[in-house]
Symmetry: C2
Subunit: 375 residues, 2 copies
Amino acid sequence: MKVEILQEKLKEGLGIVERVASKSLTLPILNNILVNAEKNFLNLAATDLEIGIKWWALAKIEKTGKITVPARVFSNFISFLPNKKVDLETIDTSLKISTENYTTQIKSFSADDFPIIPTLTEGEFISLENISFCQSLNQVVDIAIPSTARPEISGVYFLFQKDLIVMATTDSFRLGEKKIFIENPLDTKGYSFILPQKTAREIINIFGEKKGNLKIYFSPNQVMFEFLMAETPHPQLQLISRLIEGEYPNYQEIIPKKFETQLILPRNEFLNQIKLASLFSGKINEVKFKIDSKNQKVEIFSQNPELGEYQSNLGGKIKGQPLEISFNHRFLIDGLLNIKSSEVILELNGEGGPGVLKPVGDPSYIYVVMPIKAS
Amino acid sequence: MKVEILQEKLKEGLGIVERVASKSLTLPILNNILVNAEKNFLNLAATDLEIGIKWWALAKIEKTGKITVPARVFSNFISFLPNKKVDLETIDTSLKISTENYTTQIKSFSADDFPIIPTLTEGEFISLENISFCQSLNQVVDIAIPSTARPEISGVYFLFQKDLIVMATTDSFRLGEKKIFIENPLDTKGYSFILPQKTAREIINIFGEKKGNLKIYFSPNQVMFEFLMAETPHPQLQLISRLIEGEYPNYQEIIPKKFETQLILPRNEFLNQIKLASLFSGKINEVKFKIDSKNQKVEIFSQNPELGEYQSNLGGKIKGQPLEISFNHRFLIDGLLNIKSSEVILELNGEGGPGVLKPVGDPSYIYVVMPIKAS
């Protein structure tokens, strides 16, 4: 293998694939990056056996070939180099890196030892605008929690329909659901799967700021996200992930269809008052709300026998039944942080029923949260 | 006590004194801030028994008095409030905080339980420009290390002379010395002391970006740093610290008076090549330098049996004996980071003698570093 490539380009690729290279002690080969000089392209790949990633860039390939290089030292070394031409060359089982003033040999391994990363370019796929897809995913991804007892809720549920993509997550105390409406109906017979939370986070990290289109390829056990190069039809990035087995709970059942009390509140002020109240809440994070529909205001209370007590008032548009209700402040804060509109809707169903948070003027997002029941 | 003050002002003061309030489990009173409404001024104070800090701001004092308030919850609460008027009032042993829409009562303690923080406004003092003093201190502070065996080198040595302030630190492998030349000779008979590293860091954090003058008051066991308000002669901040007992080593002896080899090197490129070499150095952080005075260049090497090897070249102005020498890369990097000039001088005295790093064109700073002796 002998390749010439610009430092900046190589650094970008290493920064992406290095994220996936694992820190496995039992399978040290996974701490490496597969460097593959193909015709016209330098390809870097890494996997932790759950996620596999491949990156390509145009490069001057003097001799094709491949080698497996320790990820951390390779990526660190390249990141410190000046942005000039870098030569990569295999010398026995080392990778020789040279620039004008620098020469390095990194001890490496045969490419034969590196696991094969599958690809999924056949079968059904859909194509989506990158950034808004990642922003949507970001509104639900953090609600899922790792759960060995119920692995099916440890990921993000995806449902692809003709003109709609639905993403949902829950930790059984709260639920987030985001819909992406598709203008050009998809050519799909409908698909659903549960994506591991770690994969979803990597997708946001890797694709979240790249302008372009993401192709999503489906199969029963795996899903692949592909990003194309601007200039050529050659892929620039492929991320393939296993899926979580199991049936996602029928969460639609717990989304209330009506409400007894509805509040429309200024989002920033509401968020700030809950943060202030949180400083005085006790071990179960309880913050109390006294909703006064007659005077169009909410009183917010918290009390901690060791620290003291808190009380504040918030005006808003309130209709329906007056109510006293308690929430875990962390759950409300998480929901409000996923909403960016200047006003939010909070719909309640008595002191024991689920509450619903929604942005004003955006039907695509809903956040359901269970209250803390009065003891 | 009853006080009215702007949120922004109070937040600033709490941010400063809270740094010193300790997280002591054995003396929980030290986790508090003493809030003292004096005539015209609100005073906040905290101590960890090594450092004491007092802060003042003009405020509308409706009733003088004092109370001891838990630092963290008080500071967090105030920092979340909008920048409007805040009323502070003692209600029994609670501090009531109220603004337009918020009311809080924080459980507090009697001010009688709070330790007395001494002051030092009598006796000798000197007055210095704040920011350059902190920048100078910053060039040496990190070299000292906590040492119970040799507590005298765990702090920053200060020597005040008629027209000169000297600060020095060492960890016995390297030494930093910074001189501040005083244009208007000081009215002092000469003073020296060892300041705890923690105090030095707090001074940099607290005073490093405040434009103004710092007064330093001396006593045999304590030192006080005072910052005045712009408008009035009233102090805005006082930080008093214990000193470290013991005799500082006569470090002047180890600063070489001459050299066998002298290099003048571009600082950024030198730093970058050492960083690159550090990736391939072994457990003792060894990086080798082969100084070729004939060809006016340095070759930099490192080698790690597990990772691989590194080699680079750096051109410079070199005079004196050719030499092969090894240094701990971390020590060289630390020294170079304390120097901001575009070129640095490195003076060497054989493979076993101390090396000296200095900025070009600035005689006020010197960094001495011991090489790794060939085994």
